[in-house]
Assembly symmetry: C2
Homo-oligomer: 257 residues x 2
């Protein structure tokens, strides 16, 4: 398995055709997986915003005031308002915001980003990242490049562990997971680990090449990796009924007394 960053992509602007820009720079082959950082997908889709676009609601003001009191540094209530407008549920509202996006991904600040956005204050996540992935995949097909899976990635924290990792937020042309149910281990027993979230693993792998800084390699080509002869599953985001961490967070609140 090999990973190569796509070199020399320009600063992405609204309306840019990511598939065409990548196809000009990388000799994609059938079976490749192309990962694309959500940052450039959002830029191409015009998902930038400015703090001035977010008149502050009472709830946003309350959130910003409380975090400000706890953190001891100024918080812009318009940022809290942007996060509220991007989410369907706030799981943590203090001392930071953990929110579910409209497409089911749970991330700090609903993935609203303040880095790598020229001329604007904020970059929102793509509205429907799997549809973005599908469009990029269709764009590649238009360039004569068939049978390439596309993963839209973001960088995100993880419960119980420090630090952030690459994760998949949208995908097309492959299932999200290898389903090992019914397969067997070396001794013929049923497997304990049953569903391997390969889109997340591919996103994490790609993030090792992408990095977080000014490096400018938001697209990575994965070659010679095979999904293999397994069943596939397309469910990545948990529903609340079987999400115990979410249930617990709904009942919890930060003790700032």
């Amino acid at each position: 398995m090999k990973l190569n960053g796509v070199a020399d992509l320009p600063e992405i602007r609204p309306g840019d055709d990511i598939a065409a820009l990548v196809a000009e720079r990388a000799a994609l082959e059938p079976g490749d997986v192309l990962t694309v950082a959500s940052t450039i997908v959002s830029k191409a889709e015009g998902r930038t915003a400015d703090l001035a676009d977010y008149p502050v609601s009472g709830r946003a003001q309350e959130i910003a005031d409380r975090i400000e009191a706890v953190a001891g540094e100024e918080k812009d209530p318009r940022f809290a308002q942007a996060v509220l407008e991007e989410s369907t549920e706030l799981l943590i509202d203090c001392p930071f915001l953990l929110a579910e996006t409209r497409f089911g991904h749970i991330a700090p600040n609903a993935g609203v980003d303040r880095s790598n956005v020229p001329d604007h204050d904020l970059l929102l996540l793509p509205k429907r990242p799997s549809e973005s992935a599908k469009r990029i995949r269709a764009g590649l097909a238009q360039q004569g490049i068939e049978d390439v899976a596309v993963i839209v990635t973001d960088t995100c924290g993880r419960s119980f562990r420090h630090g952030q990792r690459g994760v998949a937020i949208g995908w097309a042309g492959m299932p999200a997971s290898r389903d090992w149910r019914g397969e067997h281990d070396r001794d013929g027993h049923e497997l304990g680990v049953t569903v391997q979230s390969v889109v997340d693993e591919l996103a994490a792998a790609a993030n090792l090449v992408t990095g977080e800084g000014a490096g400018g390699t938001p697209a990575v080509v994965v070659r010679d990796w095979e999904f293999g002869d397994h069943a596939g599953s397309n469910e990545l985001f948990r529903a609340v009924e079987d999400d115990f961490v979410r249930q617990a967070l709904r009942e919890w609140s930060f003790d700032d007394t």
Copy 2:
């Protein structure tokens, strides 16, 4: 960046020298990262066990009875006992066990595994996986292979998302994370994402090659990846004070009424 599975490793037995077995089969080079599945580290360290080794405490019986009632299938209280003995805290006790291991990793069943263990019922995680990684690294040095980082991996679920992914549980010869604090984005702003957990990303990448089944490729060589010129951090497991999910889970309990 390239990943290659180490071919033809035998069934690992107590006392086996993993460094030597790998060195015989892979031409490691300075700068490589070697990932090793905890399964074979545990086998080499004799971390197998049998259900009969675990006389059932009242707490284990209670846990098994409750899960059995909820899940509607038989649960062996000796397995619950094994998990209790491997952990320092149970974060979820129903409808499944989520526990913190003695070395700080939080995993279902404290990582106690029933797959890929011949002649025994259970495979426990290595006692101190970072020390295991250090020993393997020292073993490689003894074979004349210097400057190879070693990561001990497991496969583990993730909050909010379906499926399991490769994660790092021990490492040696490299920091756990790239610390981007103080670095800047493409527009000269401070970065929002600050700590990139590269050992987890490497473990996830390797897991794409390893898989979960009978494939038999528990060691993977990562070549042409560079940590780069960043500060490093060695903290991977969160302390409870800044772990809000753990705090929330402590207060939560499954509603089985």
